[in-house]
């Protein structure tokens, strides 16, 4: 129970005047930064580094935790309101959040996102407090073969996401994977697919460039064509009835919350994975297990809750490998890690015993930040909804400005802005011809992780695929791999099952 005392102490520290002020300020910055397409918690946390030298480290941690959490919430706002994922962790939120907003139920979508995030954050803090040390051991044993198995499982959960045209769906998956191989090949150290020798390809294709291109530029072109620039983006009404409806819709999403919270946390603690695969897998699994899985993608609250719950849960979870193993799961945690080192803390197994105040202060303030972000978010929903009232002719150029700055900011290269335009235009053309675009976005997120893990494993096993299926030496990898195969096969057997048994 000592940890609980420390955790409570950490939370109490958050309520000191300076800390509370920083906390609320941090939540707001996080929300804002998270909602900007292309910018994520990494940008918010980067501006913190100088501040850590001015205020005491505890206040700095609280501030950073607030920015981190705020950004996790903020990503959902632009996913729902603009249809552009604010951050990679909010991609899956677009799938159902955007259709909800278009149907005029943006209120439901935003409430679902906020409450889902809060639940995910709460569950993960509890899990973290109870099981951190044993889970650190799991994270340590989770190596390349296990990571690859997990990636296969992530792909498997998305079998049903494509369109009806199977060759076009497969094409979409493959082009995402090929795009993800552009850049330097880690294993051989050689540059690959550097078209025309342009140095901009050396850093590969940033996932955000594809997502902003397809969901930002592409979606705008699509809307322009449909509405000819005359119609408002969506209808909307804010009144008490609407608020009540939003909350009652959440009752049906309890399963999504459970899946999102637990899956998100466990995927989050794995060093290689992090919040993005967690939210994607959570969406996929919730969809597969749901009774009305056909409706996913056309705007169901559970489709918003599942990824939002998972990404918040995972963002707490991903603190674990950072603290105990010194491995950043994301650019944000990398900067946090740098900050920790500058504060004179050495990440490693001893951190929990030598610096408990730091660890529990961080987790405690994450939780307080979680709570305040929920309050702020619910309070600000009417302000967010105002975006929907702006006429399309005004909103469209603003969104283009957001896309251009968002495409430029992560890598600071104009090359990526050009690519983004290209993907936007290409994605729009392909979408008109029934090529599903979501699988390409998923593959570009998961592709690099999967490729690296697979090739590392194959070096270890001298090229034998058996390493992924061997229960005796790699039990975790084998179990995940077989689950993945079952998941892959299940949808294929569904129609066959129905065909044979329903007719008889």
């Amino acid at each position: 129970m000592e940890t609980f005392a420390l955790l409570l102490q950490g939370m109490a520290t958050s309520f000191e005047l300076l800390n509370l002020g920083l906390l609320i300020f941090g939540c707001l910055i996080g929300l804002f930064v998270g909602a900007m397409p292309g910018l994520g918690s990494v940008n918010g946390v980067a501006i913190l580094i100088p501040i850590t030298f001015i205020v005491p480290p505890t206040a700095a941690i609280i501030f950073l935790a607030a920015v981190y959490y705020g950004a996790m919430y903020g990503g959902a706002i632009s996913s729902v309101m603009l249809g552009i994922p604010g951050a990679s962790t909010a991609v899956a939120t677009v799938f159902d959040g955007r259709p909800l907003a278009v149907k005029g139920e943006a209120m439901t979508a935003l409430t679902a996102a906020a409450v889902g995030s809060f639940v995910g954050g709460t569950v993960s803090v509890i899990l973290f407090t109870l099981f951190a040390p044993p889970l650190a051991e799991v994270a340590l044993r989770f190596n390349a073969p296990e990571t690859f198995a997990l990636m296969v499982m992530a792909f498997a959960t998305f079998v049903g996401l494509g369109g009806d045209d199977i060759p076009k769906t497969i094409f979409s998956i493959l082009i995402g994977l090929v795009l993800s191989t552009i850049g330097l090949d880690l294993i051989t150290g050689k540059p690959r697919l550097i078209f025309f020798g342009i140095p901009g390809f050396l850093h590969g294709i940033n996932f955000l460039v594809l997502a902003i291109g397809i969901y930002g530029i592409g979606e705008m072109l699509w809307t322009l064509e449909e509405t000819k620039g005359k119609v408002q983006m969506s209808k909307l009404s804010v009144n008490m009835k609407e608020v009540g409806r939003a909350f009652s819709a959440l009752k049906k999403t309890i399963m999504a919350m459970n899946i999102g919270s637990f899956l998100g946390f466990f995927v989050g603690i794995l060093p290689a994975a992090g919040a993005t695969p967690a939210s994607l897998m959570s969406y996929g699994i919730t969809k597969q297990l749901s009774r009305n899985s056909k409706e996913f993608g056309s705007g169901v609250p559970a489709g918003v809750v599942a990824p939002e719950c998972a990404n918040n849960s995972a963002s707490t979870g991903s603190m674990l490998p950072m603290l105990t193993l010194g491995i950043p799961g994301s650019p944000t945690t990398a900067i946090l890690l740098g900050g920790m080192i500058l504060w004179g803390l050495t990440p490693g197994p001893l951190l929990f015993t030598q610096q408990p105040e730091f660890v529990w202060g961080l987790i405690g303030s994450l939780y307080i930040a979680n709570f305040f972000t929920l309050v702020l978010n619910i309070a600000l929903i009417p302000a967010f909804l105002m975006v929907l009232r702006i006429p399309f002719a005004i909103l469209a150029p603003v969104i283009f400005v957001l896309c251009v700055t968002g495409g430029y900011a992560p890598t600071q290269s104009l090359h990526d802005v050009w690519l983004m335009l290209l993907f936007g235009f290409g994605g729009y053309m392909l979408r008109k011809l029934d090529y599903p675009v979501a699988p390409a976005v998923l593959s570009i997120v998961l592709g690099p992780l999967a490729e690296k893990a697979m090739r590392q494993s194959l070096i270890l096993s001298d090229g034998s695929m058996g390493i992924f299926f061997d229960f005796s030496s790699k039990p975790i990898a084998a179990v995940i791999m077989y689950i993945a195969i079952v998941l892959l096969i299940m949808p294929a057997f569904g129609p066959i099952y129905r065909k044979f048994f329903k007719k008889a």
Binding site: F171, L174, L177, T188, R389, I390, V404, W418, L421, G463
Partner: protein
Amino acid sequence: MSIVTKFTVRRAEITVAVVLALCSLALMYKSAQNRITWSAEENMGAGFLPFYLSLGMFICTVITITKFILKKSPQSTNNEPFIDAVAFKFVSVTIISLVVLVFAIGYLGIYFSLIFFLAFYLRYFSEKSNSFILNFSITTPILTFLFFEWLLKIPLPQGISEPLFYPVYDVMYGSSSLFMIWIYIIVTVLSPSALVFLANRFIK
């Protein structure tokens, strides 16, 4: 606009499929510049995965083309125009103005390019008054500047306009309290004006 109406979904389908097939072949060629072999003795070459994945892409496009020829896909029998003439105008103006914008960012810098882009785009698509358009086109880049360069410290490209920003930086990072005065002026004068316009003009 007759070209636009003659470009049917059917034609678009086959054109896109052939272009994608050619792209797949180009990717295979490009991948093959790295080693594409893999055996027990030798680790997987850098080009192995992209090569075979591109081959998969090529096969998918071949299936799509075959389905087209056999008229098995819905697009292959659809003789409606791919895009109607009015929408084509909107979409193409948007794409061209975006391309010009990104070109201009490289030379003029983002802030001045945005003024021209916004002014043009609003003039073309909205029916707002000139004074509104002017105000909006100037306020947006200023807010962008404050948000990116001041709050987040992310430099955006400034092209040839860079020297114009030196005094702004001096003010922003100068130790004098002048900095706060400037920020005060900008924030109090400009962003409310933008918000007022949002409030007054669009929300009925």
